[in-house]
Symmetry: C2
């Protein structure tokens, strides 16, 4: 078995519009947009939405939101979502990008939140039946 | 002054793909997708993300997510977001659809969550300076 929870809403923004978007969303949520150390493509909107990381990401793509799912077992969570109907789009660093039935993007990443928050909120998923079960 | 908070993440899905999307997201979050009484375009994913309403909406548009902001004063919140740089896209029933700098959609709606949740989590925004101030 493994565990996962919704970690973040990411506001993917075309590179040339990131500054305007950061000013706007900072005002919307009443919180500064702060660069993430070591990850210059992100600006984090701290405590914008309780319990959920909110960040603007500079992307070479049209504006979109996406959802990040954090998990203690990335291959198992990716396999679970593919079994539910998702397709793999790309792998970028530790992020597995999937496309949902219907067309939405979501990413699977290793646990990134406070371990206590993850422990208290993550859902537990059973292992899928093994090919050997019942053989 | 008025108040607002982030109420929902809406998974806008092309009409023909809503059933597949509902099955998928229901599995992702481990919660049923239930029709919303009186609002047949919505299927609500109850408790999918703590503190945030999560729903699939059937739309005549490509797949996208959008964010709903609930407020105790819709005209004041719409004016606040426009002053921050948003543009008005449409008004549909009680929902004011805005486009953020950078291109993302967000909606402003009257308070829809439990009043106690709204009271405890909403941010308070001061009135803008009146044209008469200092006159």
């Amino acid at each position: 078995m493994h565990r996962s929870r919704t970690y973040a809403i990411i506001i993917d923004t075309p590179e040339g519009e990131v500054d305007a978007a950061a000013d706007f969303w900072s005002g919307v949520f009443g919180t500064p947009a702060r660069p993430e150390p070591g990850e210059p493509q992100f600006q984090v909107l701290s405590r914008a939405i309780p319990g959920l990381t909110t960040a603007i990401q500079s992307v070479d793509a049209p504006a979109r939101y996406h959802v990040d799912i954090e998990t203690d077992d990335v291959p198992a969570e990716v396999a679970r979502l593919i079994a539910l109907g998702a397709t793999e789009v790309a792998t970028w660093l530790e992020c597995h990008v999937l496309r949902a039935p219907g067309g939405h993007l979501l990413c699977v990443i290793p646990v990134a939140s406070d371990p206590e928050l993850f422990r208290s909120e993550a859902r537990t998923w059973p292992d899928p039946p093994s090919e050997l079960d019942g053989a």
